[in-house]
């Protein structure tokens, strides 16, 4: 290896190091989507941040190596630098590369599993009704059924007599348990700011638990192609409000729905009417 080649390697390594460190500092300190409006969003934001901080130096190292092998040899084309072909697969770099990638993959998988387990966001299919009660303390989740249909969402509060509203309003600091289902085709309920995304599948109860931490007005949208007006299946009026505002709002809704609610059971998961049978 000539002195010149060594200098080029050092130059590329330096450029890579500066880029990697600067990039990682930016990624670590900068805001990361989906930001901080809920416990789930914060943890997803952390996961994305950590993945990005791991990925960026590796990515830039591979790019720097490609660039060096392409251009570094080109600008220093002394015969001594060029290997005419003895290198057919030296085993040391292979072992190093394979072990490094296995270690990275394993740690990513373990980290992802731990992050997933600590979030507990999705419980998946459950058609049996869980025990129903009105939330007494902030640790009890407030259940909100999200009923998707072409092409809007209806929100139902089973613990408030089954009040149904076209607008989602939830209290801040309270654990919310979304029960997502659909009346027709597959939709997906996406509350970007809260980090909630759950497919809405007919006759299926897709459960997602989240605690909003910031009040505000947000966008909810459908993220699974569901037919003609899929692109308009969104609303910018989903609200996270203080618990007193929520209490006032839900009382107002109950008063509005009172003429209907008196025919319905006080607490129920069941959505009435049942989805129409196919073909009728």
């Amino acid at each position: 290896m000539t002195e010149r080649r060594r200098r080029y390697i050092r130059m590329y390594a330096l450029v890579w190091f500066v880029l990697a460190v600067a990039g990682d500092i930016g990624l670590a300190l900068g805001p990361t989507p989906p930001f901080q409006a809920s416990d789930l969003a914060s943890s997803q934001s952390t996961v994305i941040k950590i993945l990005a901080v791991i990925a960026w130096p590796v990515f830039s190292a591979v790019v720097a190596t490609i660039a060096f092998t392409l251009f570094g040899n080109r600008v220093a084309p002394h015969e001594g630098d060029i290997d005419p072909g003895k290198l057919r697969g030296d085993s040391r770099p292979q072992i190093a590369w394979i072990s490094a990638s296995i270690v990275i993959v394993l740690s990513l998988a373990v980290y992802g599993t731990v992050a997933l387990a600590s979030d507990q966001p999705g419980a998946g299919i459950s058609t049996t009704s869980a025990s129903l009660r009105q939330p007494a303390s902030p640790s009890d989740p407030l259940e909100v059924q999200v009923i998707a249909q072409q092409w809007w969402f209806t929100y139902r509060y089973p613990t408030y007599g089954g009040v149904e509203t076209p607008q989602l309003v939830i209290p801040v600091g309270q654990k919310i348990q979304f029960h997502v289902t659909s009346l027709d085709v597959v939709h997906s309920f996406w509350f970007y700011a809260l980090g909630v995304k759950a497919d809405a599948v007919p006759l299926n109860d897709n459960v997602f638990t989240v605690t909003p931490t910031q009040t505000g007005t947000y966008r909810v949208q459908c993220s699974e192609l569901c037919g003609l007006w899929h692109g308009n299946m969104n609303a910018d009026d989903a609200m996270v409000v203080s618990s007193s505002d929520f209490a006032a709002w839900i009382q107002q809704q109950q008063a509005m729905d009172a003429p209907i609610l008196k025919y319905l059971p006080a607490y129920s998961h069941t959505y009435e009417p049942n989805p129409p049978a196919y073909g009728t």
Binding site: L70, N73, D83, L87, P202, C226
Partner: protein, 638 residues
């Protein structure tokens, strides 16, 4: 009709069957029309529901199916099996040579021909046609997305555009590398004189034109709103345009499956004496392993499509919960096909890139066995990851960690491909010929595709990224940024062999920079809108996403323009004003470059028996001695 040039061999006047064969394409069109009307009439009369103003669903399904059969019958695909069934004498060597296109001139490109090289060229044309029409669709989509609310399209026409663009591009990508280069070069590279099942090979190609046309005909039937994923029960709900998607996709599925079968048998049985598996060029390995994916994955798609037609025709409610079915059934069957499908796209591209690298580094492929290990690893793992498309579906949450792990594990064998590429480039005096530029861009683009994939494989981050533009940009990085760049690299590299003509170097190098920069501009913008919360396949989006969407559209226009430029250079330099190519312009040691140009009809006069890997640039040994004087090595070409 260009297919009228009469080809005769020997002295006898052409027989009736040969005349019919020459008019195959015209007969095929007639056959397709007859098939459609017969099928439509039968379906409508016998089992039609008759309550749809556009006509009967059963009629359309049967009409499309019989039109495909009629098309193939017109081309002459059934002559051989029917003659065997009737006990007619087997074709003479003369008949076979005629079918092979010997002495057929240009006309053999327009009819059923069993020469794998002709079929490879037919694939080039078909792939570019699909790419062109699908690309036009992308331009319309990007135009609509300049504004957050609908302007140029209606909700209906927009979703039909989305469906056509995506499905056509999937058709294109399924065969973009394996079709042109696999068919043309695999038999040559293994020392065979033809494919194992030449008629089947012709069939896999001739399924493409009816598939493309049937898919496009959806615009006359109201289009379809499901995109290329065809999710049920939305598909059950769709108007007749859905049937175009179902029949067209099943023809493509059939083509993928049969092509896989043919390649596997060819590589196993037709290798020349002395051509061991340890001497197979790495491109052949890529095609060989991909063929297993096609053979094993496509049946899941075909089954799912059959079930969907039952749902739509007989109200079988296989995918409709209220009737006892499940949307998860479609999702699982579809992605059991769909995930291996993305490796059907990329594995042959990996093979092709690694095949070309040594030619430009002038060094043996670094770690040939590592490369095979990487390809095998990807092949096996690709069947174990499909549930990562269902992380937010609510299905089997307990299995998410496994599918997260298996998906991330694929990056280990994929990383081996990069190790081989880097090892090959390390300390090499790389020649920056035009294909090498595309190879470098391939490595860069696929790297972004791979790293963005890590964020999607991780369940918590997938909760926010799933179903959004991040996913869209991710797979465009792998399909367009990698596979289509490999296609362009392959065309620049192999056209001199396939056509004896070459693309203008300066123009193509300019085109390279244009396509590389505009591609990354487009899809970096789209990665960003995805992270910021834009769902896929929407005609309306939040106001705050407009600047990034405008940026994506402007770059997309440049990207469309530079793709058009590539097509223009190709057509101009190869068809209109042919620029003759040097023999073996890249000074490759591959056996394909050491046969005469154009390649003889049966490739080899005498099949070579002494083979080595085509990467021995240190000794300069050609992969096999074909008795054709090799052009002198030395003196790099730009």
């Amino acid at each position: 009709m260009a297919a009228v040039a009469v080809a005769t061999r020997g002295t006898a006047p052409p027989s009736l069957s040969r005349r019919l064969h020459e008019w195959g394409l015209a007969l095929a069109v007639v056959g397709a029309a007859i098939g459609f009307f017969v099928g439509y009439a039968l379906g409508s009369l016998a089992i039609g529901d008759g309550d749809n103003s556009l006509g009967s669903n059963a009629g359309i399904l049967l009409g499309y199916s019989l039109s495909a059969v009629g098309f193939l019958a017109g081309m002459g695909f059934f002559n051989y099996p029917i003659a065997r069934l009737l006990g007619r004498p087997v074709p003479t060597a003369d008949d076979e040579a005629y079918l092979h296109g010997e002495g057929g001139g240009l006309a053999r490109y327009f009819r059923l021909t069993t020469d794998h090289k002709v079929i490879g060229m037919q694939y080039v044309v078909a792939i570019l046609a699909f790419l062109f029409v699908g690309g036009l669709g992308a331009m319309f989509i990007r135009t609509e997305l300049l504004t957050p609310t609908p302007t140029t399209a209606t909700a209906e026409s927009y979703l039909t555009l989305v469906g056509l663009h995506s499905t056509l591009m999937i058709f294109m990508a399924s065969a973009a590398i394996i079709g042109p280069f696999g068919n043309y070069f695999v038999p040559i590279m293994i020392g065979a004189r033809n494919m194992a099942f030449p008629r089947l090979e012709a069939l896999t190609f001739w399924l493409l034109p009816p598939a493309g046309l049937i898919l496009l005909s959806t615009v006359f039937l109201g289009g379809f709103t499901t995109g290329w994923t065809g999710y049920a029960p939305l598909a059950d709900q769709n108007v007749l345009g859905m049937d175009s998607y179902l029949i067209a996709f099943s023809l493509i599925g059939l083509s993928i499956m049969l092509s896989g079968l043919n390649m596997i048998v060819t590589v196993i049985t037709l290798r020349a004496p002395g051509m061991r598996f340890t001497r197979l060029p790495i491109f052949v390995w890529g095609v060989f392993l991909t063929s297993f994916l096609g053979l094993l994955a496509a049946p899941a798609l075909l089954g799912a499509i059959a079930m969907e037609t039952f749902d739509r025709t007989y109200l079988a409610t296989l995918f409709v919960p209220a009737g006892g079915g499940s949307p998860y059934l479609w999702e699982n069957l579809f992605w059991f096909f769909g995930h291996p499908e993305v490796y059907i796209f990329i594995l042959p591209a990996f093979g092709l890139i690694m095949e070309m690298l040594p030619v430009f580094t002038r060094r043996p492929l670094w770690g040939y066995r590592v490369a095979i290990g990487g390809l095998v690893g990807v092949t096996v793992l690709s069947f174990m990851v499909w549930q990562h498309h269902l992380f937010v579906s609510g299905l089997a949450p307990a299995l998410r960690p496994f599918y997260m792990f298996s998906t991330e594990a694929i990056s280990v064998p994929t990383g081996l491909i990069y190790l081989v590429a880097l090892g090959s480039l390390w300390r090499a005096r790389t020649r920056f010929s035009t294909p090498m530029l595309f190879i470098g861009a391939f490595l860069f683009n696929f790297l972004i595709g791979g790293f963005t994939g890590v964020f999607l494989s991780d369940v918590p981050s997938d909760f926010t990224l799933h179903g959004g533009y991040f996913v869209q940009a991710h797979f465009h990085y792998t399909i367009m940024g990698a596979e289509v760049f490999a296609l362009m690299a392959g065309l620049v590299y192999y056209l001199p062999k396939m056509t004896g003509r070459t693309m203008d170097t300066r123009l193509t190098r300019f085109q390279f920079w244009a396509v590389f920069l505009s591609f990354n501009g487009t899809f970096l913008s789209l990665l960003s809108v995805g992270i910021l919360g834009m769902p896929r396949r929407v005609i309306s989006y939040a106001q705050y996403l407009q600047p990034l969407n405008v940026s994506a559209t402007v770059f997309a226009y440049l990207l469309g323009g530079s793709m058009l430029l590539f097509l223009g250079i190709l057509i101009w330099n190869v068809v209109i004003r042919p620029v003759p190519a040097k023999e073996n312009p890249w000074e490759s040691l591959g056996v394909e470059w050491h046969l005469p140009t154009p390649t003889p009809v049966y490739n080899f006069d005498t099949v070579p028996t002494k083979w080595s890997l085509p990467y021995e640039y240190d000794t300069g040994r050609v992969a096999a001695d074909v008795g054709h004087p090799a052009p002198a090595l030395g003196g790099a070409t730009p």
